[in-house]
């Protein structure tokens, strides 16, 4: 089984130096691209490879790039790698950042060439201190070797690369909020259109891609679109970094073909549940994905299959819920995160998620009331897609809505006394709210 992304990562996780990396074929794709390929050739091999973004949304990378204007009169374009990994339960980009920095830099150079960007940034989460050191060192090595800077390898192509370390907020990972943060502003998301591909950082055409996405690019350019497609067991191409955390025997991170089943991941790689515990469910791709449960264990882990099962592949890092862990506590912990990390820009998210957290906290404390579950249901709808300014709030609703569906009894048992109530959680204000939202 091929593992292109992690093949050259050492057991002790120390990154390869530039020399060592070149000895195992590193930077070949830069030579190939700059010598033998036009930017449009890079774009078409990436499009043909069917690579989907690994940052969570799974958007087709080739398609995203195709919106960048290729008019040669544009003086500045940016390529940004989103290395702000902060979604709870997600720990995949850390490995590539700490242990394979040259692979990422190589992918950034080739991608920048493909869209003819001349300035690139690594937007790195502040907490990743070792990654910062390793990337800073690797960027300097790449400059010294002539892979970055002016007239790279005599091709006439120029590329600057800078490391920006953030100052912490989950919303910085949302790509338009990230742009505001890089411009020295509060990291609130931007309205789209205009899309960043046309008007992004400092108003210039900009591509933002995830670390794992860009780390795939050198391999696609070297070995071709067909090869990349065949790495996968299904139609969603490539390998994927899959992770498991929670009370399994061997939590960890593995590069595996796209399309392995949840069961394989859990049992063969994560070693199954710890002794005495049973599997109850899992968030398949980080904190903002819907629960999948036992009946889904044979679902294939790819974008299309997981979506068909009612969740999202997200970041591919699974968080497991066992039968001795409180479902309400689990969801309350998630809501605390989302309430705290809401950027506060739009009202449903800023007000709604803390309200949900309060309800769950009072449920847990045995102070639940009859209409609490209806109120929670209500929120999952009104903070859902289309009602908030960005995807944070709808993402937050995914684990909540699916927990209410699959584990409703767990919530109900906290309500000691069923108070008389209508099915309408907000009998008086509801109509007004609906009108407001449809106008919004």
């Amino acid at each position: 089984m091929e593992r292109p992304l992690t093949e050259h990562i050492r057991k002790d996780l120390r990154p390869l130096t530039l020399k060592e990396y070149e000895q195992v074929g590193g930077y070949l794709s830069v030579r190939k691209a700059l010598k033998d390929m036009a930017p449009k050739d890079i774009q078409s091999v990436v499009k043909d490879s069917n690579l989907r973004g690994r940052g969570g949304a799974g958007f087709l990378t080739g398609l995203k790039w195709s919106f960048v204007p290729m008019d040669s009169s544009i003086d500045t374009k940016y390529l940004i790698v989103n290395a702000d990994e902060m979604e709870p339960g997600t720990f995949k980009d850390r490995l590539l950042l700490e242990s394979a920095p040259h692979q990422l830099i190589e992918g950034m150079i080739v991608s920048a060439y493909g869209i003819q960007a001349n300035i690139s940034f690594v937007f790195l989460r502040w907490a990743y201190k070792e990654a910062a050191n390793n990337i800073r060192f690797a960027i300097q090595e790449a400059y010294d070797a002539g892979y970055l800077g002016h007239n790279i390898l005599g091709s006439g192509f120029n590329l600057e690369m800078h490391l920006h370390t953030g100052v912490g907020r989950y919303i910085c990972g949302e790509e338009t909020a990230l742009l505001n943060s890089l411009e020295g502003k509060r990291a609130t998301p931007r309205a789209k259109p205009p899309f960043p591909q046309v008007s992004g950082l400092f108003g210039k055409p900009t591509i933002v891609n995830n670390v794992e996405t860009l780390s795939c690019i050198p391999h696609i350019v070297n070995k071709g679109a067909d090869w990349f497609q065949k790495l996968s067991l299904t139609n969603d191409a490539g390998t994927k970094l899959f992770g498991v955390s929670g009370k399994v025997r061997t939590p960890g991170l593995w590069e595996l073909p796209m399309g392995i089943t949840m069961r394989e991941l859990l049992e063969e790689h994560a070693g199954g549940m710890q002794d005495g515990l049973k599997f109850r469910g899992a968030l398949p791709g980080g904190a903002s994905t819907d629960f999948l449960v036992e009946q889904h264990l044979d679902v294939k882990m790819d974008y299309v299959s997981i979506a068909a099962a009612g969740s999202r592949l997200g970041t591919g890092t699974m968080i497991v819920l066992d039968d001795k862990t409180s479902v309400v506590g689990f969801v309350r912990n998630l809501m605390h995160f989302f309430a705290q990390e809401s950027c506060g820009f739009c009202t449903p998210c800023r007000e709604g998620i803390p309200w949900i957290e309060k309800i769950l906290t009072s449920l847990e404390a045995g102070k639940g009331e009859g209409h609490d579950l209806n109120l929670l249901d209500f929120h999952t709808k009104y903070l859902g897609p289309g009602n908030t300014f960005c995807a944070l709030a709808p993402g937050a609703m995914e684990p909540l809505q699916s927990a209410l569906r699959y584990f409703r009894k767990d919530f109900e048992q906290y309500i000691a006394e069923e108070l008389p109530h209508t099915t309408d959680p907000l009998p008086v204000k509801r109509n007004r709210l609906i009108t407001d939202i449809s106008k919004f």
Partner: protein, 154 residues
């Protein structure tokens, strides 16, 4: 007044961006690195240097988790309170740290040695529970390990 070292480092950040104000987050980081936190006075100095208002800079400074607008101790403990660490029992670590140091979240020990803060997912969930002290990451932490960990910081 900003020190020479500070202005030198801020200038480096300014060089990368099209206008001064755009380097304000880098500038706050530089000053915090030297002074440990951003006082009102530091804030004004940075704002003046970048030719922006202190109010605007404060709106940025207060938005981000890791810019400290209140004094912190010599070492900052960041305890992950997100989902995988919660499942793996970070609450025991929290109780043990609080008891050992006699402080709650957001407080600093009387000897000014430690400040304790909760922190979202540290990105090492397969080794939960996790915490950071300054730049150091600790993983698979148990209450029994805490004594040795804390002893490293004076």
């Amino acid at each position: 007044m900003l020190s020479l070292e500070e202005t030198h480092e801020i200038d480096e950040a300014i060089r990368i961006v099209p206008y001064k104000k755009a380097a304000c987050i880098e500038a706050l980081k530089v000053v915090q690195e030297h002074r440990r936190w951003i006082s009102d006075e530091s804030l004004r100095e940075v704002a003046d240097y970048l030719q922006m208002s202190a109010e605007e800079l404060d709106s940025v400074a207060t938005f981000y988790n890791m810019i400290h607008r209140k004094p912190v101790g010599r070492h900052v403990i960041l305890l992950c309170d997100s989902i995988s660490c919660w499942v793996m029992g970070y609450e025991n670590i929290r109780a043990a740290v609080m008891e050992r140091l006699g402080i709650q979240y957001g407080q600093t020990t009387e000897d000014n040695r430690f400040t304790l803060l909760p922190n979202p997912c540290l990105g090492t969930c397969n080794h939960a529970p996790a915490l950071m002290i300054d730049n150091d990451l600790y993983r698979d932490v148990t209450p029994a390990m805490l004594g040795d960990i804390l002893d490293k910081y004076s």
